[in-house]
Structures are given as C-alpha cells and as structure tokens.
Point group: C2
Chain length 332, copies 2
Amino acid sequence: MPLAFDVAAIGNAIVDVIAPSTDQFLAEQHLAKGTMHLIDGERAAALYAAMAAGVEASGGSAGNTVAGVASFGGRAAYIGKVAPDQLGEVFTHDLRAQGVHFETPPLGGAEATARSMINVTPDGQRTMATFLGVAGRLTVDDVDPEVIQGATITYLEGYLFDPPPARMAFEKAAALARKAGRKVSITLSDVFVVERWREPLMAFLEASTDLVFANENELMALFQTADIDAALEQIRGLVPIAAVTRGPAGSIVLAADQTHEVAAFPVETVVDTTGAGDQYAAGFLFGLARRLPLETCARLGSLAAAEVIGHYGPRPLVSLRELGRARGVDLG
Amino acid sequence: MPLAFDVAAIGNAIVDVIAPSTDQFLAEQHLAKGTMHLIDGERAAALYAAMAAGVEASGGSAGNTVAGVASFGGRAAYIGKVAPDQLGEVFTHDLRAQGVHFETPPLGGAEATARSMINVTPDGQRTMATFLGVAGRLTVDDVDPEVIQGATITYLEGYLFDPPPARMAFEKAAALARKAGRKVSITLSDVFVVERWREPLMAFLEASTDLVFANENELMALFQTADIDAALEQIRGLVPIAAVTRGPAGSIVLAADQTHEVAAFPVETVVDTTGAGDQYAAGFLFGLARRLPLETCARLGSLAAAEVIGHYGPRPLVSLRELGRARGVDLG
C-alpha cells in the first residue's frame, strides 16, 4: 500500500532548551528579541553557560507543525537530520510517540543534534539562538520520494535556506510534490531568514508555492516595505493562498478572491509564545488537507496556537482534536 | 575563606522525562501509581518507546530541593554523579545556573546519566520509572568534607539506599556533618524505598537524624501500621523534628513539644505533582537553616510545593524568594 499523509514536512531537527530570561539578558547577549540567531558551537557553549536553568523539549519549526497535525488526528511525516545522541533520541521519540512517520537515518561521526536556546521574556516572547549541528547535513538523499508523493501537502521551513545541502533537499521535495500534483507550502520562518534569502525565497514563492505562512514583519521584510497593506496585496498577487499571523490580533488569510480576518483564541496567560506560529500552521495545514474552508483552516490554526502559548514548550500538551471538539470547531 | 552553605544535599543526579499518561498505561506497564520504580536499561528503552511525547527537565529529588533552596535565596551545594553526556551537561548547567555549588566530577566510560521516566496522569499524580545509570556510582570519594562541614544542614535522599556505593557516601556525609556539629536531615523518598530498606532506615533515623521528611504512606510503611496517628507519635519519639506532607491537606510538623498543622497553599490547577515533596523540603530546609520557627518553615514548604505543581517539571520556574514576598510569607 502506498504511503498516504495529510502533511509531509522538511525541517531543521532541533531540540529546544527553554529558559526564563529578561530583556537585559537579551541586550547583554546581543540577541534581537523575537528572532532566531544562528550560532556556532563555541558561542552556544558560552550562551548556555550564561542562561538560566531551563527545560528541554523537541522542537524545530516543521517538527512542531507535524506534531500538531498529528495531534489534530492528521497523518503526518517528517524529514530531518539528527545525530545518534541523547537529544537525537529524544527528538525521534517525541515525533514517533505523536504518531508521526519519521525515518530519516541519523548521522553519526559528525556534529551533535541541533539545539536552540530559547530565552523567554516575561511578556512570553521567545528569542532563539540555534546551534544547527547535524541538522544542516540533511541532503537530497534524505528526501524519500514515496513520502513526498504520498502527502497531500508538503510543508517546508524557510529556515532550510540557511544550510546549503538542506536547501537542495528542500528544492527536491518541492519539485517532487509538484510533479505528483501535490500542494507545496512554505513558512518564511523569521525576519532575518527573509533578509538573508530574499531573492531565492521570492523566486520560490512565485514558481513553486501554493500556500505561504508569514507574520507581518516577515512579509514587510520580503517586500521591503513598511506598509503592511501594500505587503498583503503583493503576497496575494504572488501566491494562491497566504496565511498571515498577527499575534494577539489573530490572522488574515488572502486568496485571489477571498480575504478572511480571523480572531485569535483567548488565552488566559501568555507563558511562552514558542511554537505559536508552528501550531497555527499545523491547524491550517490539517484543515486544508481535509478540504475545509480557508476560514475554518485559520480557526484551527488559532486554536492550536492558543494551546501552545499557554505553557512552556513548542508542541501541544493535549490532543488538539479533543480540544477542537470541546471548543466546537469544525474538524471535518 | 571556608565554604558556607545553608543546605548541602546528596542525591541521585537524574534528568526527568515527563509525559502525559493515563491510568490504563500505568496498568499495562505494571507501574504502581504515585511511586518510583527502578528499571534497567532494556526496560527503560521499552518503556520510553511506549510513552507519549514529553519534555525533559533536570530532576533528582535532592537536586530539585537544592534548586528550590537557591530559588529562596539560600546558599546550596549538591553532590551527585552524572556522565559526561548531553543529559549530564543539562543537569550540571541547570544546578549551576540556579547558583548551586556542584563540583562532583562526571564519570565517563560507564553508564549514561540517570533518567527517570515520569508518567503524569490527568489527576496530576506522577509515577516514576528510573534508570539509575551512572548516578548509582557515587562513592565516598565524591563526598567533599569541606562542603558538608560548611553546610548548616546536610540533606540526604532515602533513594540513596538503593545503590550500595551511594549509600556509603550517604553515611560518610552524615558522619561528617554530625562530627562538625551540623544538622542531618533525610527524606524517606518513596514507600517502596521504605519497604526495601526499613531496618537500616530506622537505625539511621534513630542514630543520626535531626529532621525527617515523609508523606503519610511512607510513615505508615516505616512503622508497619495502617494507623497514621500511631505512626505520627512513633516518628515524634524517634527524631527531633518530623515534617509530614499530606498532599492537598498540607503538612504536619512534629517536634518533642510542638505540633503544627499547616495548610497547603491554594493551587488553581494541579498540572503535575512531580517535585512537590522536594520543593516542600526546599522551603522547610531554607527556613530551618535561617532559624525561622517550624510553622514558618512549613509555610515556606507549602509555598514552594504549590508553585511546582502548577506546571510541568520538578523545579520552580519563578523566584521563590519573590513569590514568598508577594504572598507575604516571612523569609527571615
């Protein structure tokens, strides 16, 4: 029987180290709030030594998203590279325990499994410093054609533009998906990623993308404008569907002939926004794979994002399917 | 300048793997709810494969306690054994980041750093399966006399009775502390530990203990009685101070001429009781080291326990000192 998934994702396989922090600490460490910084091993050791005590949780943007898709009851697959070390085992366990198909072989004898040090300020914002380690060694050979061809939607991280071999894997997956008549989606991931890779990202969006996820800052960086309305109209002209997140203001979904503004779900206490965008994508992708209306897709995204910002860690701690039922959201 | 600590603790240095679970899963895995089971590497692998996705956090009963003492603003030291692996680095970082003195050399070439798989049921109860790994290789040579002699109170885990070399370290520490005119405290840790080591535990309590922590079940197991009132009077006769935790009912403190019943602090939602007893001990030990009245010690314990059961993970996520101030508790 051929493999069949709602969503297959490719991403940097990362374990998060999440700790409470302060604006002063971010300033001392020269970390721009709310963004992701790539750091080398030496800097990672120094930063870790300076950070507060924390907790560890499997992360990686696309990994978080497929965990969320599975939590909605969707069938999900993941492609990403870990090392055969303790954190690699944790990452692998957590995806498989969530029911995600994850068979990319670990790579020994190179770097360690990637770690992202996530500093959470009292306002719930997260600022990330990522040591990519072996995650950057994902290659085209790791892209299993059966997985991509069997997935209704292939989902790609903008973060993958950073490590060159991973970017080739990314491009192979997109080509395979399109050739099989499947949908391709991408998240812009981070404003610095957009600034580093604006031209190839733009080309990819125009040529190969059915659905793009972005927040407002990423979108304005992409079109080099401070005018969010102009950026929204530009993305509408570029990609069939754009889902733009706006933090507490919810999200806006743009298609050629449709615009939907969808409110955020209420959250009692914002503890840690790590994974909010990833879980929004999870809900949206699940809904789209199940052919739900775009507005419902966005509501599923809001629901999942609200769950994850109520606690430390980037993946849902409860079944999103059950949560959706309890809140009366259409799950198809 | 000589070292000076409020509390020095010796314990099994463990990283927790905490995941949501169900009563059915505990039954299938033959795990008695609310207790700690020692398992070997093979069983650990099988259990981990069956467990849900989780988060990792530094743990170990006494490690949690000294982290809590430091969070109250106390000076704390820890003695315990990790391996030079990723989880050992996490454990070491988290204690030092909290300001705890931790200089026990890691042991390479043996087992991995200890892991405890903690299954949290929807009622917030935690059931633990621990692979002791290198933690059991703590020896008398690891007990730094300067640390013990410099500590107002030495705190020992009942769990240390399980690995024989660790138990010898435990006994050496107690002897050093007493000889230096310092206080010795112990937690009974777990009802199975009490049943396995009843006689040596009893002898240790009678000969060398100034302060014992226990919950009601552990106390009844110690005195082999189903009558909690009888057990309370027996422990009062055996040890100068006994602090007995009673879950939501708070705690009772017994000394020769004093009895204090102290209520639990209100908790909005019980998420995960992992570390509740450890944090109770942290507050109590901090208070006692600072010569606060026994009733205040118990209130500090209740405060710390309430913080930790409101979230996943066994150590406080906020400053207990600030929390205590905010709640108007006397911190000395």
